[in-house]
Structures are given as C-alpha cells and as structure tokens.
C-alpha cells in the first residue's frame, strides 16, 4: 500500500486544495477511494491524487532564515514607525 495525498478543486475556483491523505494499492484505487472518502458530498468537481513519495519536500529548516527579514514585509509598519519617531523628535 502507498500513501496518496488528495487534492480537490471546487467549481469556479482556480486552486486545488489539500484535503487529506489515504492508503491505496494502485493509482486507480487511490482515485476510486478518494472519490468516496473526500467527494461523497460533491465537495469539489476535480480531483488529484499524488503519491506522497513523489512529493519533492524541503528539509524542515529550509525556510527558517527568512523568518527574520522584516524589510521584506511591505505592510508599511516599519516606515510608519520611523515617520512617527521623526515627528515626535524635538529637532
């Protein structure tokens, strides 16, 4: 048995969303079983199953260094804070 990740797309939306996983012996069985496990109430109109061992996964610490780069956040908070500080300074 292999583990498959299941993705479903809803009518009118562009993206496939991950909805869960299942075990199946073949690709065809994975499709048939995913249909019953995740689409029995017509939760979507398109279905992908992807073998988990075919997923290219990054190591866990792959994105960690990017957690400390506030300058890449463009919500304006850093600039606003500096302007506020400038207005309040006596000079």
């Amino acid at each position: 048995m292999r583990v498959y990740e299941v993705f479903v797309k809803k009518d009118g939306r562009n993206e496939f969303r991950h909805v869960g996983a299942l075990e199946a012996a073949t690709d065809e069985l994975a499709l048939v079983l995913a249909r019953e496990a995740y689409l029995r109430r017509a939760e979507g109109d398109r279905l992908w199953v992807v073998r988990r061992d075919h997923v290219v996964a990054a190591p866990g610490d792959f994105v960690d260094p990017n957690a400390d780069k506030p300058h890449r956040h463009h919500d304006g908070a850093a600039v606003a804070a500096r302007r506020m500080a400038a207005r309040q300074s006596p000079g």
């Binding site: 048995m1 299942l22 075990e23 073949t26 069985l29 048939v32 079983l33 019953e36």
Partner: protein
C-alpha cells in the same frame, strides 16, 4: 397474469435485490479490510438502498398508495418472507471479504445490464431512475474492478478470489431467473428484454474477468431449468431480514 400484477412483481424483484444487496454492503461498515474500503463499500451500499427506495416508490405508485416513509418501510420490511422476490445471491451470507468482493462485482455487472433493459421503459419514472442508476453503476464496477485488477495479479490473492468465485457462482443463474410476471411486464413495455437474456452476457463477462476457472465448472447454457428461486427463500434470508429489522423492531410504530 394481469399486466399490473406482472409489473408489480417485476419491480419488486428488482427492488428487493437492490435492498438486500445494499444491506449486505452496509454490514461491512467498520469491518472492511481497511478504512478507505469501509467508506467505499458503505457508500456503494447507500446507492443501492437509494435505488431500492425509488423502485419501492414505483410499486406504491402502482398500488395507488402515497409513498410516505411509513408506507415505504412497510413494503420494504414488513412483508412475510414468501412475499419477497429477491434472488439467493443477495440473500447469501458471505464467509469473507473475498466472497463479498466477487459478489459485488458480479451483482453490479448484472445490475448495469438490468438497468439498460429498463432505460427505455414505458414507465417514465423507471426510465429516469435507470439513467441515474447507470451513472452510479459505472463507479461501482470501477471500484470492484480496481480491487480485482490488483488482487488477481497476486498468486495468493488470486487463489482466494477464485475460491470465492466457486462459492458464489452457483447463485448466478438464480440472479438471472425472472419472476413469473415478467412476460406481462414486458408486454406492458416495462423492459426491452427478459432478465433471463442476461445470463449469457453475464457468463461471458465473468469469464473475461476471472478467466476460465476450474472453480466455475460447467456452466448452464440457458435458464431451461426454472426453479422458482425468486419465490422461495434460502436459509440465509430470515436471519438477514431479522438483522435488517433489528432497529425497527425496537419500536415498530416509531416516527423518524
């Protein structure tokens, strides 16, 4: 035999097969070989029970009875056992998952052919139920085929599947045995051909799926040998009906 009576018998045989098959599938909930299969087989069972309910409605229509939940329950559960018209294949208590799977494949293969026969029925409601059912049957068959493709490919599993086929196979002929009223139902335009005409294509489909197996043995060429199997009940029927009625019997008058 009068036409309305024949039509009733014909619809009842179809409905009872669907009802019992649906029940048999649902009995795998929680005990199927793996979780995903639990869901799949019970979902298929639900479909069959849905077909049964729609067919029972047609029977009530014919009797001029309003198809309320109570009336449907009375028809589905409250007949004496000699009033049922199911075949022995759907009554059969399987010994293991292999037998259940083989029966599932054989029954759904037959069922798709049977719906084809009524897809152009003179009864518009029956024709419309057939269209819905045929869509569902394609998936039922695909489910059974996907499992069998894998299992028949592995020597040990193949042996078990063929052994199961040997156990279930003698009941195939009874599946295709029509009820006595079928001729009258056909002259009323209910179906395009007799249920008996499905025996040969079903045999061919079984051979194509499982190969010419020793477990099949010699097959019967046609339904020469009528045994009124749809009016007699096998030993497995009464316990099955009891299981089906288990909740209902706690409080027969309950309104759901």
């Amino acid at each position: 035999m009068s036409e309305p009576h024949g039509v009733r018998e014909y619809l009842l045989a179809f409905a009872d097969d669907e009802h019992l098959m649906g029940q048999q599938h649902t009995e795998w909930i929680g005990v199927a070989p793996f979780l995903e299969e639990d869901l799949a087989v019970s979902s298929i069972g639900q479909d069959e029970l849905g077909h049964a309910a729609l067919l029972y409605e047609l029977v009530l229509d014919l009797e001029g009875v309003e198809a309320t939940d109570l009336a449907l329950d009375a028809l589905a559960f409250d007949r004496p056992s000699h009033g049922y018209r199911c075949c022995h294949l759907v009554e059969y208590t399987t010994n293991d998952w292999a037998e259940a799977l083989v029966r599932h494949w054989i029954y759904d293969t037959f069922e798709a052919m049977r719906w084809q026969l009524v897809a152009g029925s003179s009864l518009p409601k029956l024709a419309s139920v057939a269209r819905k059912a045929l869509q569902e049957e394609a998936f039922h068959r695909r489910h059974a085929d996907a499992l069998l493709d894998k299992l028949l490919d592995a020597p040990e599993a193949r042996d078990r599947i063929l052994e199961a086929l040997g156990a279930v196979y003698p009941l195939v002929e009874g599946l295709c045995e029509p009820v006595e009223g079928e001729a009258a139902a056909m002259s009323a335009g209910m179906a395009a051909a007799s249920t008996a005409d499905l025996l040969e294509p079903l045999h061919q489909a079984i051979e194509a799926r499982f190969g010419r197996s020793d477990s099949i043995g010699s097959r019967t060429a046609s339904l020469q040998n009528r045994q009124n199997r749809r009016t007699t009940r096998s030993a497995d029927f009464d316990p099955l009906l009891q299981r089906m009625r288990e909740v209902l019997d706690y409080d027969p008058g309950a309104v759901w």
